[in-house]
């Protein structure tokens, strides 16, 4: 009996060792890829060249030029409808630019075939505005989904990884078996972040990470963004109109302005610099946005009421 239980224990230990080996091998392979890519530090990780996006007869983005280097955290700010989210989706190949090109790690997304683009997308982690969790799956299945899609690891490794990432975003284990509909907004965002990070992406893209959350939960999300950056060598793009988030997490801020409100020769990017320079930006519209002043919008309102 003892012999049998001893054998069983040995088997358990062997299994644990195997699982640990699997995880280590999986993480090592990711680190190798990251290390190989760090050799090409001189070139920007993401580059937008002359990007324009037109929907129907509406010009959303025009002539956007941008370079993001490895390790940067870039916040894209701007009022609603200025094209921030469209630009972010263009960066990860979810929207095709009408004109111009997006380059990721020196490779043009437009030159990539379907399989290559799919592989490239796995190097991005995308945190959607409303988390975009799959309603039909549990939290566990949601977080495990990217891993299962990549088909590189066993189910035991999937479980280890899911629980680890759930803990990293500060959620208890029992959340894993709940449905997304049973979670609060903040918990959904954290599950979305755990799902985005599970493949150890090189770039994490956050779409309005703090929108709709209370100030305390917003700060929790901000801390998680910073923590993610500390924990993993990721490049981050944060689309937000929350100035607190932009100031806290970003080391570079870009401000977009709606194309329809600009003169023909004006650039759509009104500001590109460190967060500390926002308050003293030359452009009045940037200062107004940062301070939350309505400015000429009040005149529009008056026109609307009188008309």
């Amino acid at each position: 009996m003892n012999e049998v239980s001893g054998q069983a224990e040995e088997d358990d230990i062997d299994n644990d060792v195997d699982v640990d080996d699997d995880i280590t091998a999986f993480e090592d392979s990711n680190r190798d890829v990251a290390a190989a890519q760090q050799t090409s530090d001189e070139q920007p990780l993401i580059e937008a060249r002359n990007v324009s996006v037109v929907f129907d007869d509406q010009i959303v983005l025009q002539d956007i030029e941008l370079q993001i280097t490895r390790g940067q955290t870039v916040a894209i700010i701007g009022e609603s409808g200025c094209g921030k989210t469209v630009f972010m989706k263009t960066l990860v190949g979810l929207v095709n630019p009408t004109q111009g090109e997006i380059y990721f790690d020196g490779e043009g997304l437009h030159h990539m075939g379907y399989a290559e683009l799919t592989q490239t997308r796995r190097r991005f982690g995308f945190v959607f505005q409303n988390a975009a969790l799959f309603d039909s799956m549990s939290v566990y299945e949601n977080i495990a989904f990217p891993l299962r899609q990549s088909k590189v690891v066993s189910e035991t490794v999937v479980e280890e990884s899911v629980m680890q990432h759930l803990a990293e975003v500060g959620l208890p284990k029992n959340v894993a078996y709940k449905r997304p509909a049973e979670l609060s907004g903040g918990m959904r965002k954290r599950v979305g972040l755990a799902r985005a990070l599970i493949l150890k992406p090189e770039v994490v893209v956050y779409d309005e990470p703090t929108t709709g959350l209370d100030p305390i939960m917003s700060d929790v999300i901000n801390e998680l963004i910073l923590d993610t950056r500390r924990r993993y060598p990721v490049t981050s793009v944060v689309v937000t109109h929350d100035m607190h988030t932009a100031r806290k997490v970003a080391d570079r801020v870009l401000m977009f302005y709606p194309r329809s409100r600009l003169d023909e020769d004006e650039s759509q990017v009104l500001f590109d610099g460190p967060p500390s320079a926002l308050e003293h930006a030359e452009d009045r519209r940037v200062r107004q946005f940062v301070r939350g002043e309505a400015g000429e919008r009040l005149t529009e309102l008056a026109h609307g009421l009188s008309g």
Binding site: N50, S52, V53, V54, F55, D56, D57, Q58, I59, Q62, D63, K89, V92, L94, V95, N96, P97, T98, Q99, T118, Q119, R121, R122, F124, F126, F128, Q129, N130, A132, L133, F134, D135, S136, F145, P146, Q149, S150, R195, L199, R259, S260, E264
Partner: protein
């Protein structure tokens, strides 16, 4: 026509979040390549946005509206063709995992079975009620079974099963996929390296085409039972004569043609409903519209394809059996 439509349509409309908008982008790109547009042309279009629109004559407006409608129609056909093509490519290259497929089989097959059986029974009985007076007047009551069963097996069974499926499953598919589109879940799939057509459309297509024949057989069977019950038990038609004429009136080819047609109906329901869901407009109204149009388009297409297939099947039948079958 379909080729032209496919050229007009974008190759990536259904995998991109902006659906039609992105198709427009692609169309613009095609034109830009063809005419070598430079960047200035985008600025020109921007200028045209700012400039005030010139008044148009009624005729020009009329031509514009009709032209847009025709282009939209052709583009939609092209979109659907490309959508179906992508789905078929996945179907023959890599099937989705068993778990995903089985859930859809349960939704489409098991949950539709009771409603299809119930409606089939009532249709069989209604046929008996409607036909009895005429057949009784000419003293051919016992031939009622042949008419009821033949009508059910050839036409009403497949069309009824398809209609119920389009209403119960097609509408739900469009609503679910539409909600997934609106809440960015389809974008999330793409962003995580999964193909939305492979993951969402292929299992639904498989469930529809593989299970609709069973549902058709169930509708046929329950209709026959309903017709028999009303004719023999309620109306008092002779049991043996009813069954004897029923056997004479329905051939194996009739049963085959009904089931054969149902596979096409299943394909129509899956493709139209998934396509409408993938191209859902934003908001609750968009999802509702997607569900409604999925049913309406599926139903109209089912009837149109039914007519075409019936003509084809009849031609084949009379080629194989030149003398045909007369059951009266």
């Amino acid at each position: 026509m379909v080729l032209l439509a496919a050229i007009l349509a974008s190759p990536s409309t259904f995998t991109n979040p902006q659906g039609r908008a992105d198709r427009y982008n692609q169309t613009c790109l095609c034109f830009q390549t063809a005419y070598d547009w430079d960047l200035g042309r985008v600025s020109d279009s921007a200028n045209s946005l700012y400039s005030s629109a010139k008044p148009e004559s009624a005729f020009v407006r009329w031509v514009n509206q009709w032209g847009s409608a025709v282009v939209d129609g052709i583009t939609t056909i092209g979109d659907m063709t490309l959508f179906s093509w992508k789905m078929l490519k996945w179907l023959f290259t890599r099937l989705p995992c068993r778990g995903t497929v089985l859930v859809n089989f349960y939704q489409v097959g098991a949950l539709s079975l009771p409603v299809v059986a119930l409606t089939g029974t009532f249709i069989g009985m209604v046929l008996a009620v409607q036909s009895y007076a005429q057949f009784h007047a000419i003293g051919l009551d016992s031939r009622l079974g042949a008419v009821i069963n033949s009508t059910l097996v050839k036409e009403l069974g497949p069309v009824l099963a398809a209609t119920m499926l389009a209403g119960r499953v097609g509408g739900a598919m469009a609503a679910v996929l539409g909600t997934m589109r609106v809440t960015e879940q389809i974008d999330a799939l793409t962003a995580m390296g999964a193909d939305p057509i492979h993951y969402l459309v292929v299992p639904r297509f498989l469930a529809c085409i593989l299970l609709i024949p069973s549902l058709t057989i169930m509708a046929d069977f329950m209709g026959i039972v309903g017709g028999y019950f009303y004719s023999v038990i309620i109306l008092g038609i002779d049991h043996a004569a009813y069954l004897n004429h029923s056997r004479d009136g329905v051939t194996g080819f009739d049963l085959f043609s009904g089931i054969f047609k149902s596979v096409f109906f299943g394909s129509i329901i899956a493709i139209v409903s998934c396509y409408r869901g993938f191209n859902c407009e934003p908001g609750a109204e968009g999802v509702g519209k997607a569900a409604t149009t999925a049913f309406v388009y599926s139903f109209v297409l089912i009837l149109a394809v039914d007519l075409f297939l019936t003509i084809v099947m009849n031609s084949i039948y009379y080629t194989i059996y030149p003398n045909g079958t007369s059951f009266l």
